[in-house]
């Protein structure tokens, strides 16, 4: 008879831990989603802003959501923005090249934008060959390039012209 309360205490404890784990799983899933946003900025143009350090696990998640995004939105051009990536070492560069290649296999072209001074220095010093990857200075230049490729041109409106 003395066991009864102890057992129910344990059961309560287990239930408590279970809900804890569930909550944490949800948080993790939300965090992973946040870690790799894939945004359609125009019909046929995706933007992927990368923020924070990239390790192997994250790189493969980025590749996965990027490739799925390309198929879902039938994308022709992907803008990879690495402004927020603090360090680009050989491993990260290699991951980026693999992602670009996989995207090209699907029929989408990648534009790499936001390469900082430090990143440019380290890419050259590491002897990483970015090959034929198109690069542009920032997101704006990337979007401009993408629209250009799709046959669009950004022009000021009548009102804008009158102001100038």
């Amino acid at each position: 008879m003395t066991d009864q309360p102890a057992q129910s205490d344990l059961l309560r404890e287990v239930e408590h831990l279970r809900s804890d784990v569930r909550a944490r799983d949800q948080q993790l899933a939300a965090f992973e989603e946040m870690a790799t946003p894939v945004i359609q900025v125009w019909e046929g143009v995706l933007a992927v802003p990368l923020i924070g350090t990239i390790d192997a696990a994250r790189a493969s998640r980025i590749m996965e959501s990027l490739l799925n995004g390309i198929v879902r939105y039938q994308t022709e051009i992907v803008i990879l923005d690495i402004t927020g990536v603090p360090v680009v070492d050989t491993a990260v560069a290699h991951h980026l090249i693999k992602t670009v290649k996989a995207a090209s296999f699907l029929g989408a072209q990648c534009v790499l934008v936001g390469i900082s001074r430090e990143t440019a220095i380290s890419i050259v010093h590491l002897g990483v060959d970015l090959g034929t990857v198109v690069t542009r200075s920032n997101l704006q230049a990337g979007i401009e390039y993408a629209l250009n490729e799709l046959g669009f041109r950004v022009v000021p409106t009548q009102a804008g012209e009158a102001d100038q």
């Binding site: 996989a102 296999f105 699907l106």
Partner: protein
Amino acid sequence: MDVPRIPILQIEDLLVASVQIPLHDLAAVQFKDDLLHRIHETKAKGLILDLTAMDVVDSFIAKLTGDIAEMAALMGTKVVVTGLQPPVAVALVELGVELRGVITALNLEKGIRILSRLTEEESIHA
């Protein structure tokens, strides 16, 4: 055992091969032989390899698929691979397949558009 054959359709001077069944090793090798034979026979100017229905591949099939596309391109036909699925693309990259001389497109429609533009350009220059 009967080896399933992948139909290879001819539309004017283009060949269209759409893989609609899961390829096992024998079927893939048979497909390679059939395809290269048809290219030689028809002297097709372009080939569309539609892989939309292929979603899971092992390393052998992935490598062979890349090889088939590169071989066809070497034979002088313009190869467009269409509808490659993300897992297949990842497998190809991981295996170091380059798809040299092969054009890729998102779907069959875009592939046909690219191919007809390319062959048209060529016939103007010729």
